[in-house]
Amino acid sequence: MTNWKTRRVVAKFLRYMAVGIAAVLSLFPIFVMVTTSFKTRVEAFSIPPVWFFVPTLENYIEVLFTKNFLRYFINSVIVGFSTTVLSVMIGALSAYALARFKFIGKRVVVASTLLLRMVPPVILVIPMFILWNKVGLGSSRAGLIIAYIGLTLPFNVWLLRAFIDEIPVEIEESAMIDGCSEIQVFPAIVLPLIKPALAVASVFTFRTAWNEFIISLVLSNRYTRTLPVAISLYLTEVGIEWGQITAIAVIIAIPAFFFTFVAAKDLIRGLTAGAVKG
């Protein structure tokens, strides 16, 4: 009897321990990043590491104002928001068509949505570099936004289509009987119904546009580059300023923190839906 009970208690304890260790491991690098960004130069470079210190904003101020990162921050914001709005809108239109209408070549389009999701940005880098420069979009934010829309569209179409499929057609049909035209049905009835899906699509799109590195590296110049590119250039200098570079890292990570704490449950649902549904 006792043997059985103690075994269960020990098992439970070990489980919590294992998960606890995993959680600590997950958070530790992030903890180091955040704390280092608030340290003075002396504190950041000291070994053994300083655990208790007075936080200072000097790294953030130095980086944003003296080193011009405010410009890169604004570029990231502009590119991020523009890509998200446009990509989700176009994706929603397409998703609706794929979910509701029958037409020739529908199977092919649906299959290609899945395939195009898998295109790695690396493959696009060389052609985009050549083609974008040829049409004069080579170092512009607009060119980058266009590239990102292409990159994020297949995922949005796929995600939104799955959601629209779940909505019963009867709602739209009754609206059309009441006089709503086929084209009006979409913004008036369908869009409000898929708000959660639009939110998830927006989060993932913004995350891609905000975090993306290699295409931005190749398609931007020192006026239009985004934060991820800027931080990488900071690294290649001799003698890395860890206090400042972790400050930039934290700035880049802020949307990630925000989305995680606000929308964790829905993000997980979005991530797992693809794999579990198959």
Partner: protein, 292 residues
């Protein structure tokens, strides 16, 4: 035919056109262009002149290029390492957490954080952690008496270090998906097993694992294709070095184009990369094609 009828017929195409145009111009055309470019020779210094057609020349050159083979080898080791570790650890964690636990929500929120953070940031932070002098890893190892190591500058350690970083970022992803899969197993099956007298491990091997087999497969393929595309972490942490010990194929392609300055050859590397990716997608596509 009335105008209304005409519009009705056209509506689906109206809705689809923006997406088709965008996808065509931004994805399909560049990829096709890239594939085509692999049959040409186009050094960056002659960018203003048209590229020269060389047929299979680039591919033949790759076939005899030892750097290329090293890169392929590094890529395969990298992928093997991350897939085995991530799937194993993810599975173990999922099995540990599948029963109701207090604070599950908190843990799930914590585990989703590494996935959401930009790979560039992950690279920067881990580069700091791995720093031989100022990094936390050598410091913590020192506390238990292990000598400091040159994690990113030692050719025999660099790839392992990068694999560890990837495991840190993506095991939570595997864990979350497998957890969802395990929680989706119908209770009746597990109960039936218990009634038949199965203990935990028998339950595990004969009931649970077969049920989540397809999810594990999908997760494996997702990680596989992601691994082929990723180059940000390597770019930021080691830039392919020391030597070629961390130069995975995607980074090799980038360096051939913009450092080696040979766009045609780099495109050929890109095509090889694309080929490997499609190969890894094959099981998924085949399963979808066959009626279940």
């Amino acid at each position: 035919m009335t105008l209304r009828r005409c519009l009705q017929r056209l509506t689906p195409y109206l809705f689809l056109t923006p997406a088709m145009v965008v996808t065509g111009l931004i994805l399909v055309y560049p990829v096709t262009y890239g594939i085509g470019l692999s049959f040409f020779s186009w050094p960056l210094r002659e960018f203003s002149k048209p590229p020269k057609f060389v047929g299979w020349g680039n591919y033949l050159e790759l076939a005899g290029n030892e750097y290329f083979y090293t890169s392929v080898k590094v890529t395969l080791i990298f992928i093997g390492g991350i897939m085995v570790c991530e799937l194993l650890v993810g599975l173990i964690l999922a099995l540990l957490l599948e029963d109701k636990m207090r604070g599950l929500r908190v843990f799930r929120t914590i585990f989703i954080l590494p996935i959401m953070i930009a790979p560039v940031v992950v690279g920067v932070v881990w580069r700091f952690l791995y720093d031989p002098t100022y990094g936390m890893i050598n410091y913590l190892l020192g506390l238990v008496g292990i000598e400091p190591k040159m994690w990113l500058s030692d050719p025999s350690l660099a790839l392992v270090s990068i694999i560890l970083t990837d495991i840190w970022q993506w095991t939570p992803f595997v864990f979350l998906i497998l957890l969802a899969g395990l929680q989706g197993i119908p209770q009746e099956l597990i109960e039936a097993g218990k009634v038949d007298g199965a203990n935990y491990f028998q339950n595990l091997i004969h009931i649970k694992l077969p049920q989540i087999r397809s999810i594990m497969g999908v997760t494996a393929i997702l990680r596989l294709t992601d691994a082929f595309r990723g180059l940000e972490v390597m770019y930021v942490m080691t830039f392919g070095g020391p030597g070629m010990s961390t130069q995975i194929l995607s980074l090799h392609m980038y360096k051939t184009a913009f450092i080696g300055q040979r766009l045609g050859l780099a495109s050929a590397v890109g095509v090889v990369l694309l080929f490997f990716m499609l190969l890894s997608l094959l099981p998924l596509l085949l399963r979808r094609a066959s009626p279940r």
